[in-house]
Amino acid sequence: MNPHDHRPGDPHSLHPPGVEERSSDRPSGVPLIELANVSYRYGSSPALDNVSLKIWPGQFMAIVGPNGGGKTTLLRAILGMVEVTQGKILIKGKEPQRSASNRIGYVPQLETIDWNFPITVEEIIAMGFFVEHRWFRGIGEKERRKLHEIMERLHLDGLGSRHIRELSGGQQQAAFIGRALLGDPELILLDEPASGLDIRSRDDVIHFLHEINHQKVAVVLTSHDLNWVAAHLPWAVCLKHRLIAEGRPNEIFNAAVLKEVYSGDLVVFRQDGMVMIGERPHAPHD
């Protein structure tokens, strides 16, 4: 299914509920990112197998799949952190330049962060200036204004001097999103932004991401939570080394696709246009 096909008023259109659709969001001729028959192997085991995928400007997409299914590798390949063994990745139709100049923001898994590192919220976000100010140039008035604007957008104003550990899970994620936003990216990649967060924090994160996407920044995230994806994201990709399915979550999250992706039976409920996925309980032993 192509993202061109979204219908106005569809609860799973390219836009979150309540956000007005913008004609400029419709995919133009050149995708932001194009993966053509991309393969990558870790030693003898395949991480990505002949994956072809297009990410359009302003798109909001989730990549779901099992552990070790290649989700993070796919993000790393787009960022140029791994060299694909086969196929090619084009950024706006061209071979990628230095990764820093590609205007792609990246938010890693929070689990990888050293929470004892002595660093404040403002210092983390200011790391995003690195792309433009590599050497001696300090942070001037213009940069400081931009920093505070982003903090305000992410509801972090007043928290700049706090240690990152003192924030809630949602605010911590917002700080790392802020760092990615500072480079004015056209695309933000997030590795499991909802992982380990409580319901309130996950709600905050998806709210930030919708806001960012509304400002025409494409958002691609990985997630293990199919229900969260189905409830909030207009587009999903099911990946298990190879691309199994791509489309609106309420259309591609069905028993057959999920069985192929997760190699197990999952229960799929549909109610009022919403799809919900549950685990099938094991039969009790006598």
Partner: protein, 274 residues
């Protein structure tokens, strides 16, 4: 007795200036050493330099040239070995530095003229520092300070979040190599002052103390060298009045500050519970 009496002596003035500069330099680079969990490398590099110090003494070449080349080689080797996937950085440091130290000991055992120079390399000779040594310390420190300031953004990014740093275009491998080289130069400059056995303490203790006082990185980068310089100054004065080894007093001063902070916090926590 005036507190300024020791400054009447040139040897003390030279030693004092060197202790303050080296204290600040070790405190500055120490921030990155501690945050990168490389505390062992400072200890290891100083031991590796011992091999170079002994060799330069035996070959009758300048300490800074002989031990300097040795330190850079050791730093490069550690970097190379630790980037092999199956060898950790700690193991790489262990292999390179203990081998180098052993080489120094082996050379000493064949040249039985164990002199003050080797003793100075082991335990420091801050009061014997010559004006030329002092200039070398000043220039070396300036170079390392400037280089660290120049790459501070890359260093912070690659220390805090190496994966994302590389995604943003930081050449983390190159930055690691530059950092190890700067550390080797710092250890080399400090060895003449503090001795092989005490350099690591000057690198590690000031940033650890500073971490008690701030939660922010940039404040840490200011506080740690200030603490290092103050401990250097206080240690020098105390060593004069109590007539004990200057290098040991500098380290013990910073240790006393660390213990005082820890005890203060412990008492504070105790009071808070009540």
């Amino acid at each position: 007795m005036s507190i300024l009496i020791p400054f009447d002596y040139e040897f003390f003035r030279n030693g004092f200036i060197a202790a303050v500069i080296i204290g600040a330099l070790c405190g500055f680079i120490g921030v990155f050493v501690v945050l990168r969990r490389m505390s062992y490398i400072g200890h290891g590099l100083s031991h590796a330099i011992f091999g170079g110090a002994v060799l330069s003494y035996v070959l009758k070449i300048n300490f800074f040239i002989g031990a300097g080349v040795w330190a850079l080689l050791a730093g490069g080797l550690i970097h190379l070995i630790s980037h092999r996937r199956w060898v950790g950085a700690d193991a790489a440091i262990g292999v390179v530095t203990t081998s180098s130290f052993a080489l120094g000991v082996a050379i000493i055992s064949t040249h039985r003229t164990f002199t003050r120079n080797i003793e100075a390399a082991l335990f420091g000779n801050i009061l014997g520092i010559t004006p030329t040594d002092l200039w070398i310390v000043v220039i070396t420190s300036l170079i390392v300070f400037c280089a660290l300031l120049l790459i501070r953004r890359q260093l912070l990014f690659s220390t805090f979040d190496p994966e994302v740093a590389s995604a943003y275009g930081v050449s983390t491998g190159k930055i690691d190599l530059i950092f190890v080289t700067l550390l080797a130069i710092t250890v080399l400059a400090s060895t003449q002052i503090l001795g092989v056995t005490l350099v690591a303490a000057a690198i590690v203790i000031p940033p650890v103390i500073a971490r008690y006082l701030t939660r922010g990185f940039h404040r840490l980068l200011i506080l740690s060298p200030v603490i290092g310089a103050l401990c250097g100054a206080a240690g020098m004065c105390l060593s004069f009045y109590f007539d004990i080894s200057s290098a040991a007093t500098i380290v013990l001063t910073s240790t006393a500050l660390f213990v005082a902070l820890e005890v203060g916090l412990w008492i504070g926590r105790l009071g808070h519970r009540r």
